[in-house]
């Protein structure tokens, strides 16, 4: 009888016994994960809609023709510019994870330098995207508008579709392209702003006083997610 009572009264310490996070991550970090999960749903909806519309179309602007320009350098270098953008974003993901790694060692100076590297990478990416948007816009693509029909035919691979088909799917392509890369670019932009705020906090010594650079880790999660989305955008807009 007495043994039963002691068993009940005994304080449980297993991960799911309550009193602490069974996931053993801090609250804010877990919420960042769940926010990213919801964001993944939003991006998936956009990308899957794009996929469904493209699969059900009889013709579609060919990526290696639409994206063949490298601004200021060459008019015929298919996918090279977007390759550069991909490289920049992966590179800034590496500097971000290096900032997190430096944070684990409480190396304030290193965190600052890697964060600045990440911010520069983000700004370079946004610059590239601005150039690409300008280029496509100058050719006549925008939300709800496509180039005149002779120019538009250039963007379709042989055999050329009818004018009606080219106009319809040209419009779908333009709308989806600007919406999805725009939504992603907006995420990159917010990421840069958040990174700047965190870098200022690191410089002010906020996290040094707090004793942990967990905030750097949290914005790192967001930044890697932006990189992750780009990996998918890159595949489904530029390669497929």
């Amino acid at each position: 009888m007495s043994t039963t009572t002691t068993n009940i009264d005994e304080v449980k310490t297993t991960p799911w016994a309550g009193g602490r996070s069974p996931f053993s991550v801090e609250y804010g970090k877990m919420m960042m994960w769940f926010f990213l999960l919801s964001d993944a749903f939003t991006f998936s909806s956009l990308l899957i809609s794009y996929g469904a519309l493209r699969f059900s179309s009889s013709a579609w602007p060919a990526p290696d023709i639409v994206f063949k320009a490298f601004p200021y350098v060459s008019e015929n270098a298919p996918l090279v510019f977007v390759g550069l953008m991909t490289f920049i974003l992966i590179m800034s993901s590496v500097t971000m994870v290096l900032a997190v790694e430096a944070g684990h060692r409480n190396a304030k100076k290193e965190v600052v330098w890697w964060m600045i590297g990440t911010i520069i990478g983000g700004l370079m990416f946004l610059g590239c995207q601005a150039l690409e948007w300008t280029h496509l816009h100058s050719e006549g693509f925008w939300w709800g508008s496509v180039p005149d029909i002779h120019k538009l035919f250039e963007f379709f691979a042989d055999p050329k579709p009818s004018a009606a088909v080219a106009t319809t799917y040209g419009h779908q392509f333009a709308n989806l392209f600007f919406t999805i890369t725009g939504f992603h670019g907006f995420h990159v932009f917010s990421g840069v702003i958040i990174n700047i705020i965190i870098t200022i906090n690191v410089l002010k010594g906020t996290y040094e006083k707090r004793g942990s650079y967990l905030m750097v880790e949290k914005v790192g999660l967001y930044w890697h997610f932006v990189d992750l989305v780009w990996v998918f955008v890159f595949t489904f807009f530029y390669l497929v």
Binding site: T14, W33, I48, P78, F87, E101, G220
Partner: protein, 114 residues
């Protein structure tokens, strides 16, 4: 009860596991996969060595591999508690469901549009 100290040391080891060398290794993997994708898109498909019907599934597999490396290593999910890994990965099944539904649906749309 004895699990408490071991998990803590494990966690510490895992943090050290994601050192600079490992970070760069993941970077080279990501760069390598991207280069393979470029070779397929710019050389193999235009020269007719493989068709885009073969290339597209390869792109998807390579993209998922990149996603695994980014989420697993850069976002550190591979080293988190199993509970958290499942909490994040399992809802993604809904996305897969939507992909299957809309892929199937789009095959009907193309018939309607003809």
């Amino acid at each position: 009860m004895s699990s408490e100290p071991t998990t803590h040391t494990e966690h510490a080891e895992e943090h050290e596991g994601m050192n600079k060398k490992r970070i760069w290794n993941v970077f080279y993997v990501l760069l390598g996969i991207t280069c393979v994708e470029f070779v397929i898109a710019l050389y193999l498909v235009p020269h007719g060595i493989i068709t885009y019907h073969t290339a597209n599934p390869i792109y998807v597999v390579l993209t998922l591999a990149k996603a695994f490396y980014i989420v697993g290593y850069f976002m550190h999910l591979k080293f988190e508690k199993t509970g958290l890994i499942f909490a994040i990965i399992v809802p993604v099944l809904f996305i897969i469901g939507l992909i299957l539904v809309l892929t199937n649906e789009s095959h009907h749309w193309i018939d309607l549009r003809m």
